[in-house]
Structures are given as C-alpha cells and as structure tokens.
C-alpha cells in the first residue's frame, strides 16, 4: 500500500475521528442510541482500517494479539464484577439500584437519571465495549493472518 498516498493520508485523518466517535457512542449510550456493542465495533473498525492500509504487522504493534486476548477476558470480568459488586452491596445480581446507596448518598437529583442505575449500566457497557472491540480485532487478525501462519 506504500504507493497509495491518498488512501494513507485520508485514513490517517479519519482514524482518530473514528476512535473518538466510538468513545462518544460508548459513553453516550445511556442517553441516546448506542452502547457497548456498537462502540466496540466502531472502535475495532478504526484499528482494522489501520491494519488494512498500513499492514497487519503495523496493526499488531499498536494492538498486540496477546493484549487483546486479555482484554476480552477483562471486559467479561468488568461485567460480572459489576454484578458481584451489587450483590456485595446487598442487592440481587446486577441490581443497580443498590449502587445508589452504596456509592452515592442515596438522593436522586431532580432532572437527572438515578445515579445508581447510571453507574451500573455505564460499567456493564464498558465491559461489553472492551470485549467486543477486542474480539472484532482478533477475528480480523485471524482471517488476515491465515496465509502467514502456514
């Protein structure tokens, strides 16, 4: 791809915005459309675009497969960890309302989402986002790297 200057320049310009948009979808998911899954896919798309234009090896340097594998596990742990935290706080598994009293002082502000629910869904979606992004990139690596490993 060395000769495709236009592709290289445009993707260099685009990739930061793709990643930024992923973060927007991730953290705005509890107010509007979006959430962890969509954000994870968009984030992975940014990395995959980088891999397509600058080569698989370059992508493997910025997102090493061994790190991705651990991130997949970490995301699941964030999700289940949130559930365990709500159980320790005295509620059922994934009952975010108890976070309202455990983490915050328990008052629900006017014109505001209940903070416990908000925090709970934010953490869970973060876990989903991390796992989905890592899985997407790893799937791309396994397909793109097939010939090489032979």
């Amino acid at each position: 791809m060395k000769q495709h200057a236009i592709l290289r320049v445009t993707s260099k310009v685009l990739i930061p915005y793709i990643l930024l948009f992923a973060l927007y979808v991730q953290f705005h998911g509890d107010y509007g459309p979006g959430g962890g899954f969509q954000a994870g896919v968009i984030f992975a798309a940014g990395i995959i675009l980088y891999g397509l234009v600058f080569g698989l090896n370059a992508a493997r340097i910025i997102a090493p497969p061994s790190v991705l594998e651990r991130l997949i596990a970490l995301g699941v742990l964030i999700y289940t960890g949130t559930g365990v935290a709500t159980m320790l706080a005295g509620g059922n598994f994934l009952d975010y309302t108890v976070l309202q009293y455990g983490v915050f002082d328990g008052t629900v502000l006017a014109d505001h989402l209940p903070q416990g629910q908000h925090l709970g869904i934010l953490l869970v979606e973060l876990g989903v986002g991390i796992t989905v992004a890592a899985v997407m990139i790893l799937i791309f690596y396994s397909f793109a790297g097939r010939e090489r490993s032979r």
Binding site: E69, L74, V76, M87, N92, Y96
Partner: protein, 508 residues
C-alpha cells in the same frame, strides 16, 4: 449469601473462565477450574436439597420482577439436571490433566479450561433459567464453546488427524441451524404472547383472544403451531434425535477424550431438558400430544433410532464412534420415555438422563485411559488389552453392562421404567423392542470384551501399562456410581419420579 445460590451457581464458572485467560499458567488454571467445578457441584447439591425441602426457588436478576426481568426458576427437574451436569463436570475435569497433556497442545491448555468452564456455564444456565430468550443465550454459550472444545482435537490429537476441525465445523453448521430454528420459534411465541418468561407464556398461550372476528385461544393460532414446529425440530437437532444425529458421531470420535466424556454425558441431556420444558411447562402435553401428534412422532423416530443406531454401532471399528452411535440409541430411549407421557414413562426418561450420563461419562473416561496408553481408539489396537490394563478394562466392561441394562446397574433401572410404562399402555411391541435393542447392545459390548480379553495383543503394544491412578479414580467414581444408583434408587429414580409428577401436574 444463601438466597444468591441460584445466580452464584452460574456466575462462579462464568467469572472463572476469563480469569483462566488472564492467569494462563497451566497448573494454576487447572487448580482454579477444579475448585470452581467442585464448588458448583456443592452448590447444586445444596439447591437440590432446598428444592426437595421447600419447593420451587426463584431468583430475579437485577431485581426486576418476573415477567419483565429475567428470572431463574428451579424446580425438582431443573435441580436434578443441575446436579448431574455439575457432578459430571467436576469428575471429568478431575480426570483431565494427564489426558489433555497427551491429546491437546500445551499452549492451548488454558483455552481448554476456559472453554470447559464456559460450556459448563451455558449448560447450567439453560437448566436454571425461567426465561426463554435467556435460555437461547445460554444455549449459544454452551454450543459455541462445545465447537471450540471439539476442534482442540485437531492439533496434537490422538489419532493424529485434523478431522476434528471438520467434525467441529459440521457440528457448528448443524448446531447453528438448530439454534436458528429455536430462535425463530421463540420469536414467534414472543410475537403471539408478548412475554419471554416461560411460566407467564404458558398462561398467555391459553388466553382467549379475538382474531379476525372469531374468538380462539392463542395456542390455536397457526403462528403458535409454526413456532412449536420450529422449536421441536431445532431442539431435536440439538439433542441428536434420529435422524437429526448426523453431526454427533464425528464430533464425539475426533474430540479429545475429556471433551467427549463431558459433552456426551451432559450436552444432549440438557437439550432433552429443553424439550421437556417446551412440552410440559410451556405449551402443555395436551397441545403437543393430543392436538399435535408429537408423541407418535417421537415414538416412531426413537424406535427406528434405537434399532438403526445400535446396529450401526455393532459395525464400527472405532470404539469411540461405536459409543457415539450407542449415544444416539440412548437418546432414543429417552425420547421414547417422553412419548409415553405417563408418570412411569417420564420417570424412565428423566432417570435415564441421569443414568446414561453416568454410564457414558464413565465409558468415555475409560476410553481416555486407553487413548493415553494406546494412542488409538481402534478395536484392533484393543486386542489383549484386558491383561495389560485390567483396571481400565474392568471399568469399561461394567459401563458396558450398564449400557446393556443388566440388573444391579443403573441402566437396568431406566429400562425397567420404560418397559413397565409400555406394558401399562399395553404396547407390547414397544416393550419387546426395548428388550431386543438390549441384545444389540450386548453385541457391540461383546465385540470389545472379546477383543480385549480373548485375543492376543499385537507386538507393538507389548509395553503398554495400566493408566495412572489419578485417572482411574474419576473413571471409577462414575462407573461406581452406575452400580450405586442401580441398587440405591431413592435419589435418582425417586427424584426423577417427583420431577415427572410435577411436570405432568402442571399440564392442564
């Protein structure tokens, strides 16, 4: 923490699985997985005790009340299935270290434990949940990890072939078709009832609604008929009911021994559990057996399945494949028991879930011992092995007797219930067929006995010695259990009867 027991049962292996990926170190991962599996087994025992003591237990995830939120609901049947799935999971994992050292590449060991725990999570989740969509999600968790587990046999597997990949892919294609059918069925039911909670759905299916100017019950609509058709075909594929069993023999033959033992003992059984839930809890036996001819259908297919699969088993030269075909036949017995729709028949089906899990689990663990020492699963290589590996072969023979249904083994108890259910209905040909199929089992078990005890060992196996004790102990735990539960039936058959009566009772 007592009231959180239902969810702890699911999330303990679910949390341990990603931890295995983070830890990676082989010994530590094995220790973690082993501790988790036995802890889950202990929790399942506590749950069964509580259910028998005080009746149904429910747990609301996220604190959302039942028809809206996801609910875990444990009655006698689910507690019983949870018990033996987690028990088999713990015993088979205890067997694993030596076996996977031989059959799975070293750098993939932590993946094996991760997938094993995920598969266990999925199977337990299917059994515990009271929400139909949640059931589908757990079904996918268990199936996807099962495909990956089977494909682990492709590298460093015994015998050295990469056919495990094709077998896993075949299973993936068939399993995905099954899962898609199940999802379509769930979607159609959701469309007609507006609920995913099984108990709520059962109520709403019997409500009267106005459709195109005429009043009828929801379950009289064509949409529900189509949903039921999709669901029953999808589940039959998953439980390998003849003639939808084509994925099973290769998957069991080429998977690593530990994986075969675990999946053969649990995966198809849990699919049968889904079928029981669908028929008796959701649509009702009246709908499935009187309005629709599912009972006749199950009976015909299971009887053909029993004979065809048993005869096919006789002609196999690969013992793992022979046992796989025998599994198809055993699923036939279970389906036959369901088709009677009587307390005896259903008890026979449920208790055979349990008994067959023990018998096949034990047999495949014995196969794991043989593979470790022989590096082969061919009948020819088993010649004379009875003298070189007496303990392993003795376990195999006892398991084989269980398959035949010899008195004092667990297999006898199941067949006793099936035959008495058939006689109760006056269906003599069915009873005769069950007895005749036992003779077919004698034929395929005898072929192995003859080779192992009455033929001389080939020269290349002169050095073969007995399997290590740490592998024999789990093998004998399962094989011993088939004798224990053949003599002492109050836990297995007693609980199964209670579960069967509860299922038939809720049927209007």
């Amino acid at each position: 923490m007592e009231q959180h027991l239902p969810v702890l049962l699911i999330i303990t292996p679910l949390i341990a699985a990603p931890l295995c990926v983070l830890v990676r170190q082989r010994v530590a991962v094995f220790g973690l997985a082993l501790a988790v599996c036995w802890a889950v087994f202990a929790m399942a025992i506590m749950l069964l005790a509580r259910v028998l003591d005080s009746g149904e237990i429910t747990y609301q995830l996220g604190g959302w009340a039942a028809p809206w939120g996801i609910e875990y609901r444990i009655d006698t049947l689910s507690a019983f299935v949870l018990l033996f799935v987690s028990g088999i999971g713990a015993v088979v994992l205890s067997f694993a270290p030596h076996s996977i050292a031989r059959e799975i590449r070293k750098d993939q060991h932590y993946l094996f434990f991760t997938e094993y725990l995920l598969c266990l999570t999925g199977l337990l989740g299917i059994t515990i949940t009271g929400d139909l969509f949640n059931l589908f999600v757990f079904l996918e968790i268990s199936s996807l990890s099962a495909y990956a587990l089977i494909s682990l046999g492709a590298r460093g597997g015994v015998p050295k072939t990469r056919r495990a990949l094709i077998a896993a892919f075949h299973y993936l294609v068939m399993g995905t078709i099954g899962a898609t059918f199940i999802l379509i069925g769930i979607g159609l039911l959701y469309m007609m009832t507006g609920t995913l909670n099984m108990a709520d759905m059962a109520v709403r299916l019997r409500e009267t609604v106005e459709i195109n100017g005429s009043f009828k019950q929801v379950n009289e609509t064509r949409t529900v008929l189509v949903a039921f058709a999709f669901l029953s075909v999808g589940i039959s594929l998953k439980m390998a009911l003849f003639p939808l069993h084509m994925w099973l023999p290769n998957a069991y033959t080429y998977a690593p021994s530990v994986v075969t033992a675990f999946l053969a003992a649990t995966a198809t059984k849990v699919s049968v559990y889904i079928l029981l839930r669908l028929i008796f809890t959701i649509v009702g036996a009246g709908f499935a057996f009187e309005r629709l001819p599912l009972d006749t259908e199950l009976m015909v297919l299971s009887m053909i399945g029993i004979v065809v699969a048993s005869v096919t088993a006789i002609f196999q030269t690969n013992i793992k494949r022979m046992l796989a075909y025998s599994s198809v036949a055993q699923i036939g017995y279970i389906a036959l028991g369901i088709s009677f729709a009587s307390p005896d028949g259903l008890t026979g089906a449920i208790v055979h879930l349990f008994n067959h899990a023990l018998i096949k689990g034990g047999l495949f663990l014995a196969m794991g011992c043989l593979v470790l020492r022989l590096g082969s699963t061919e009948l020819d290589d088993m010649r004379g092995i009875g003298r070189r590996m007496p303990w392993t072969m003795f376990a195999w023979v006892v398991g084989g007797l269980g398959l035949i249904g010899v008195p004092t083994t667990a297999g006898f108890i199941s067949k006793w219930y099936l035959i008495s259910a058939a006689l109760e209905r006056g269906w003599w040909p069915v009873a005769v067929l069950v007895l005749l199929s036992s003779l077919l089992a004698v034929a395929y078990v005898w072929r192995v006995v003859e080779a192992a005890y009455f033929q001389d060992a080939p020269e290349q196996h002169a050095e073969v010695t007995e399997a290590p004790v740490v592998m024999l102990i789990p093998t004998y735990a399962l094989i011993g259990a088939t004798i224990v539960f053949g003599l002492w039936t109050s836990v297995s058959a007693g609980v199964a009867r209670q579960a069967a009566e509860l299922l038939l009772e809720v049927t209007p």
